[in-house]
Amino acid sequence: MGIRTENLTRTYDLGSSQITAVNNANFEVHEKTFTAIVGRSGSGKSTLLNLIGLNDYPTSGRILFDNVDVFSLSSSERRRIRLNHLGFVFQTFNLLPTLNAVENVELPMALMGKTPREQRERAVELLETVGLGNRLSHRPKQLSIGEMQRVAIARALANDPETMIADEPTGELDSKTAEEIITLLLDVNRREEKTIVVATHDQKIVQMADRIFTIQDGRLAQEK
């Protein structure tokens, strides 16, 4: 699934002032590539990812998935795109605390209407792939930060989406765990042939990326 933005702008009203988090961004994510968006904290990386992850609305401009303006679709159609075609990994993982690891991974499949057996088999397979085959019934509180990030990645892959978007996936991790997660993301990109878009300031991720965009004060520029 090709993703393209045209003059994408997102402005937030803060009472009397306005902040433009993303300013007239034009960029394209090619299928099956590993794209990194690099920038400092507060530069607009997360806003941009939330926009292309369909978690936020643009103030102006367009986002096109396979040349279709997704904001011309209904909100329920955008939900379906989020459920079926996108996998989102949050910096803060956003696992549901009342569900254990396998249930968290099963959730998107349940929402898609897969049978409990299908859900369980796929969830176990994914958790084993990310190295958590022995932590299936652990709740988020019982997992380390690195393990939580792995569960979040497994959840993002649950419905076999074409594109995975990860917002600073190594931001909260120590260097060893960060390396493991980077390897995992690269593996997902290379072996599973998924399109990966990552917001990061981790140089190790940047070095691995096929394409790199930098963002500063909401303005996007291509480096590689």
Binding site: N50, D56, S76, F90, N94, L111, R155
Partner: protein, 371 residues
């Protein structure tokens, strides 16, 4: 906890008022098709005269029988004795009824004797009575038991096998015996008059009032008309009380659910980010709210039923243990189902606003608010 307390209160008060209105309605079956003559000052609750003076039996009966259109008269002495402690109870629960033995049917209808054993007092009997099962169970009376009332020894010849509260709590005896025991010789407080063929109750009641002084004659419809507004008022108050309590429960559940949803903003926003349909998030919150209703309602039913039994015990002085076998009479199953369904519905309704708010949560806004 709030839902449990609210349900307990609604069940306890509702079941208690329902119990008494049912008892009053049950009395409607007595004196069917008859004009009921009582003293002018008496207040009549369906079949029970309260207050007013006694009627001289022979004189009044003779006067009524002299009116054209009267087929038959039956004199009845209806006594509501004071409670065991000597204090009049809030709700009279023990009755003695004196009625000529040939006219048992007027009060008893087809009521059988328990176990089909024993017999009804005969016209020759001087001290034989029958007693309602509820009274008999309370005081351990059986067939053959001798009762001491006002110095008279009365022999129980049978137990009335009935679920009607009035008959279940009555001692029924020949009229003359009742007049002697309660010291109302030659006096009664009810005379029923059956209209002859071709005569209406209304016409007969009018004629009786015109021809007999100091009496009030009430048709079946008039007796109902007296009590209906009172029953309607009781039911309205009960409904009002239930509405207020359910409204409080609704606000309570809404508040609790709003708090619960706002504590899990990130979770609901995550569901949105994953692509959960609005209806899914909505159903999750409504389910949680209804769960409060199911658990609170179930506990409320239990505590409410127990409270209704305790209230029945307080109002009647009948031992609590005696109510347990008949708990379903005091708190009828249909009433339980209605109240349980109402509680669950109220809780679901209380979850609607929080459910809408949960379904509208967007992950970008929630995460931005957290930073």
């Amino acid at each position: 906890m709030g839902v449990v307390i609210a349900t307990t209160f609604v069940i306890a008060v509702g079941a208690t008022t329902l119990r008494y209105t049912t008892v009053i309605k049950e009395m409607n079956v007595l004196f069917n098709g008859q004009v009921m003559v009582v003293s002018e000052g008496a207040i009549v609750i369906q079949a029970i005269p309260i207050g007013g003076s006694m009627l001289p039996q022979n004189y009044t009966e003779k006067k009524i029988q002299g009116i054209v259109g009267v087929e038959k008269t039956v004199p009845i002495l209806f006594v509501t004795p004071v409670g065991a402690s000597g204090i009049s109870q809030l709700v009279p629960i023990n009755f003695s009824i004196g009625i000529p033995v040939d006219d048992w049917d007027l009060v008893l209808g087809p009521t059988p004797l328990k176990g089909n054993s024993g017999h009804f007092p005969t016209s020759e009997s001087s001290n034989e009575v029958v007693a309602g099962v509820s009274l008999a169970e309370q005081y351990n009376w059986t067939e053959g038991t001798d009762l001491k009332i006002n110095g008279y020894t009365l022999n129980v010849t049978g137990l009335l096998d009935t679920r009607l509260a009035l008959l279940g709590r009555s001692i029924i005896m020949p009229l003359e015996l009742a007049q002697n025991v309660y010291n109302y010789q030659k006096s009664v407080n009810i005379i029923t008059a059956k209209p002859a063929k071709g005569y209406s109750q209304e016409g007969l009641a009018k004629a009786i009032k015109q021809n007999v002084t100091y009496v009030n004659a009430l048709t079946e419809e008039q007796r109902n008309d007296i009590i209906q507004p009172i029953l309607a008022q009781i039911e309205t108050w009960n409904l009002g009380l239930q509405t207020v309590i359910f409204l409080i429960s609704l606000i309570l559940v809404m508040t609790v659910t709003i708090m619960s949803v706002s504590e899990r903003r990130r979770d609901f926003a995550t569901l949105d980010a994953i692509g959960a349909p609005l209806s899914y998030v909505f159903r999750v919150v409504i389910f949680e709210a209804s769960l409060i209703g199911v658990l609170g309602g179930a506990l409320g039913l239990l505590f409410g039923s127990l409270s209704a039994l305790v209230l029945a015990n307080l109002f009647t002085n009948i031992p609590l243990a005696q109510f347990f076998p008949s708990v379903l009479d005091i708190v009828p199953p249909l009433f339980m189902i209605e109240m349980f369904a109402a509680v669950v519905l109220v809780c679901c309704a209380g979850g609607v606003v929080p459910a809408i708010s949960a379904a509208r949560m967007r992950v970008a806004e929630v995460l931005r608010a957290e930073y």
